[in-house]
Every structure is written in C-alpha cells, then in structure tokens.
C-alpha cells in the first residue's frame, strides 16, 4: 500500500515534469519551424538582419567586457573583505536585476537625457540617448548583477588559504589574486561571462527606452524581432527569434558545462 502510494507520487511528479518540458520544446520548435528553410536563409541574408546581428554582437560583446571589468574587482571585494556598508552594497548591486528592464530604461533615459551629468557627458561626445552607445549602456546596467553574482560566488568558493600560502611564498595581495585566485576562478568567470553575454544579446526593455527602436540604427536582434512583428513582417521577425533561441541554448550549455565545475576547489 505504502509502496503504491510512493510510486503514484513519483509518477505524478514525473508526468508534470514531462508535460512542462514538452510544452517548452513545442513552443520553441513552433518558432524555429515556422518558416521554410529557404525563407529563413533569405531573411538571414537580408541587409536588415545582417545589420541586427552585427550590432547585437558588437554591443553585447562590449557590454560584457565592461561587466567583467567592473564585476571582477567588485565581486572580489564583496567576497573577501569586510567593510562598512557591505550588506547594503550587496543589495544595491542586485537591484537592476530585480527591476523591470523598462523601469531601468526610464531611469537611464532620465540620467543620460536630462541630468547635468548626462548632459555634460553628451557635451563631451558621449551621447547615450537613442544611439548604439545607449544599447551598450542598457545592457551593462541590467546585466552587471548577473556577472557580479556569478563572480562573487566563484571567488567565495576559492578558499582564502590559497592566497595566504601564496603570500608566504612571496606574493603581494594583487599577485596572489593574479597568480592563484584568478586562474582558479577561470571556469566560473567564463560561465558568468557567457550568461551575461547571452542576457545582453537578448536585452530589450532597457535598450528600447534608452536607445529607442530606430530601424538600421539601434536595431539589435530583439528590437528587430519587435519592429518586424509589429509591422507584419513575420518571416523577418521569426528569423531574428530563431537566432536568439540558438544563442540561448548554446550559452546555457556552456554555462552548465563550465559553471558547475567552479565548486571543484
């Protein structure tokens, strides 16, 4: 009796899992298989999609590099040191992740559009509003927390005693980080960079607000999807969506592959 209950429970949970998995796969397959292959390839080769791919890759790679550059020192400080305001800082850093991207976008628009700092940046030639630069900024702002969280937990997983030993072997703090902690964190940081990049290439809300949706100017893949779907050019929109799906799946695989091994040390 007891056994039968247990197996029924197992069956129920497994069936729900299977149904959900099937649902996800069907949704994605629906997009990927919507247009015939020749139409898909034709769209891919169209000037607009080519532009969107180039702009997406360029902006997402640059914003990811900035995320890494900022997240590595910040994550290290949060993982290793105690300082006043650390708890609050930890929370503040995570806010952009919890925020709806549209709200983040409005904030960025106001900051770079009407605030004195934004105006002086614009005067210096750094115009973020309605430019590709704005896309990079939006991706950076929204995705920094992802890089930061992965980097922080990666550094936390490296026992500080490795650095202690390195210091007794003639390293300064910075050398111990460079020669020991960083190489030991390589997989984790790579995983973080991939997930950040993949979030960046799909960034829509904040980028829409700050950089606008100008065809062939600030048209990244998600914006292209949005613009073409709303103007009825279904095939073009779907080709953008298909590319985004492939990118997501590949990055997820890389993340799982390398992210999991950060706990080895």
């Amino acid at each position: 009796m007891k056994r039968r209950n247990a197996s029924r429970f197992k069956a129920a949970t497994v069936v729900v899992s299977l149904l959900i998995a099937a649902f996800i796969v069907l949704v994605l397959l629906g997009v990927v298989t919507h247009s015939p292959l020749d139409v898909f390839i034709e769209c891919l080769l169209s000037e607009e999609i080519q532009f969107a791919i180039r702009l997406s890759i360029l902006t997402s790679v640059i914003s990811t590099l900035f995320c890494i550059l900022v997240a590595v020192p910040v994550a290290y400080a949060l993982a290793r040191y105690t300082f006043p305001g650390k708890f609050l800082m930890n929370m503040v850093m995570d806010i952009p992740m919890a925020l709806p991207p549209l709200v983040a976008g409005v904030g960025l628009l106001l900051f770079f559009g009407v605030s004195p700092m934004g105006k002086s940046l614009a005067a210096m030639g750094l115009t973020f509003v309605f430019t590709p630069l704005g896309i990079i900024m939006a991706q950076f702002f929204v995705n920094l927390p992802y890089m930061l969280r992965v980097a922080r937990s990666t550094f936390q997983n490296v026992n500080p005693r490795y650095e202690n030993v390195a210091k007794t072997l003639g390293c300064t703090d910075a050398q111990a980080f460079w020669r020991v902690t960083l190489p030991m964190s390589w997989n984790g940081l790579l995983a973080g960079a991939v997930i950040t990049w993949s979030k960046g290439i799909g960034e829509f809300g904040a980028a829409l607000m700050l950089a606008g949706a100008t065809r062939m100017k600030t048209e990244t893949l998600p914006l292209s999807l949005f613009l073409n779907m709303s103007t009825g050019k279904l095939e073009v929109g779907i080709s953008a969506a298909t590319i985004l799906i492939l990118i997501s799946i590949v990055s997820l695989y890389v993340f799982e592959r390398y992210g999991g091994s950060t706990h080895a040390y």
């Binding site: 005693r161 490795y162 030993v165 007794t168 072997l169 003639g170 190489p183």
Partner: protein, 352 residues
Amino acid sequence: MLIIDSVSKDLGEFRLKNVSLSVGDSEYFIILGPTGAGKTILLETIAGIYGPDSGRIILNDRDITDVPAKDRNIGMVYQDYMLFPHLTVEENIGFGLKSRRADPDFIHGKVQESAELLNISHLLHRHPGTLSGGEQQRTAIARALVMEPDALLLDEPLSALDVKTRESLRGELARIHEATGTTIIHITHNFEEVFDLADRVAVMQQGSVIQVGTPDEIFRKPNSDFVADFVGMENLFSGEGSPGGIVTVEHLQIEVENGMPGPVSLAIRPEDIHLSKTAPPRNGKNILSGCVRTVRQTGGIVRIGVDAGLPFQVSLTRQGFEEAGVGPGDLVYLSFWPSVAHAYPPGDSGGT
C-alpha cells in the same frame, strides 16, 4: 630564534590573548590544544596573514610585526595542503622562487632538490588533483621548504591523512628536520606526534598559552587541571597538600614528588600505576588496595577501573593484564612511585 611577545589578536570567532612564546633555532616546537584554541590564527599571525592587535613578533633579532607575509621568509603548510590546482607539482614547488624572480634553471634545480628530499621526484609533472593525500602534503611541504624558510609553520599537517600515511610522513618530518635544521612550529591534536617530534610543547586553550615544556613535562607534570585533562591524566583528584610532600585526598594519604601547602590537584597517569593481586613491598612507593570495578579492552591497552576509596584508572598492556590475571570484583593492590604523582595548584589556567 622566534620570539612572540605578548601578542593579542581578536578575529571575533577566534582570538589570541597575550601570547608569549620563544622558539629556538632548529627547534621542533609543537602546539597542542583543542579545536578553537586559536592555534591556527597564532600560526597565521606569525606568518603575517594578520597583523596582531598588540604585541611584537621578532624573528632572528628582526622585528617583523609589521613586515608583510611575503617578506618574512616563513613557510606555511595547512592541513588540507592548499596546493594550487591549476599548476603542476613542479610549478607548485617553484611558485615561491618564481615570486622572487629567480633564474629558471636555478628554480628547476632547487625544485628537483626539494622534491628528492620529499621523495616526490617522480610526480613533478602531475597536477595536484591526481595525487594521494600523502603525496599532496609532501608537495606542500616541499613548496615551503624550497624557500629555505627561517621558520616553517605546520598546521595539523598529518591530520587529514590515513593512519599509515600519517606514520610514514611523521617519520619523514623528523628526518627533514634533522637534515635541514629548519625551525618548525607544528600544530596537532595527536600525542604520538608530540613524543615523536617535539623538542618542546605549548598547550593552548581559548587563545592563551597555558603551559610550555618538554613533552615529558607536559604529560607528567601538568600545571593546571586543563592541561592534566587534555593530556589524558585520568587519575585527577583534589586534595590538601603539605610542604612535606603528602597530599591528603579524602581519607587517603598519597606521597607526591613536589610538596606544596594548601588545596592542590593531584594527577597520576594511568600507565604509571602498577597493579597486582598480592601486596608488593613498600620500598618508598605508595600502596593502595581496592576492588576491580571495570575492565575495558581498547586495542592494545586494557583499562581497569579500581575503587581504592578513590576511583583509579589503570592502563595495562594486554600482556600485563594477562599476567596480573584480574577480573571485576577482585581485590588488588595499586602501587606507584611518589615521582609519578604530581601536585599542582587547582584551577584551569596554570600557575604562570
């Protein structure tokens, strides 16, 4: 000569309270103490990982209190090896010499030499993840020794190893100490390591050093109830001392090696008591009679509880036990020399 002078450090969870020690050149110094006694933070403070809140550390007449770890030339080996997993054994051992920007040929030679000393020459191309625990610890020791440190700090270096590896590496440590003459400070819970390796021992409790002495002094002449209990003095009584060398515990009078007046604690090691069925000649020994209450076999040792007006514990070897031929309920005589009965002022903190 390493002098630790009134060092205090508060890390919240662990702390050092006014610790003073001096370790001679080429001395093998062991620090004993329960978990949380502050042993590791003492080593890390000596190594320069933390600066002390107060006090000074002097190494070979040089005040190193404010010298960063990298410039102290003090080696550190942790219980869990802390080998850099992304580097080969060779790169691990050569790590410190590379920090010093030594010539690659020189590094190679030194690494070979150090690896030979630790018998790991055949492992140089391997990565730490592929090594056994004993091999990893040998590598960690080689990595510290190759720097020719003025002092080598070992934080429970053998605790994570299986019994056999532990014993062989213990022998290696004795040999390396002999061969290199390095000053070593070694933390452990293990009494065998103390007797096998230590020139002197310090016992720590809650961030303070309670007693310092030779292994024999620590194990036979504790200065406090804490040390007596920690080193396994199973016969611990409180009584009233007299200058003449007699301690009265309840109604029993026991002659001890060191007379002191007033309330005292009395400690006798269980293996220092002789047990027999017939009364032995007195010859200046303490002789008590009592009844066997318990007999417990623990590996090679048999532990016998005897009620002689006071509860005594006696340890016999298996052979000694068979010769004595006693069992529960038997009337037996306990005899021990006054020299093995040690009196000290009662309390946990030590006389000094």
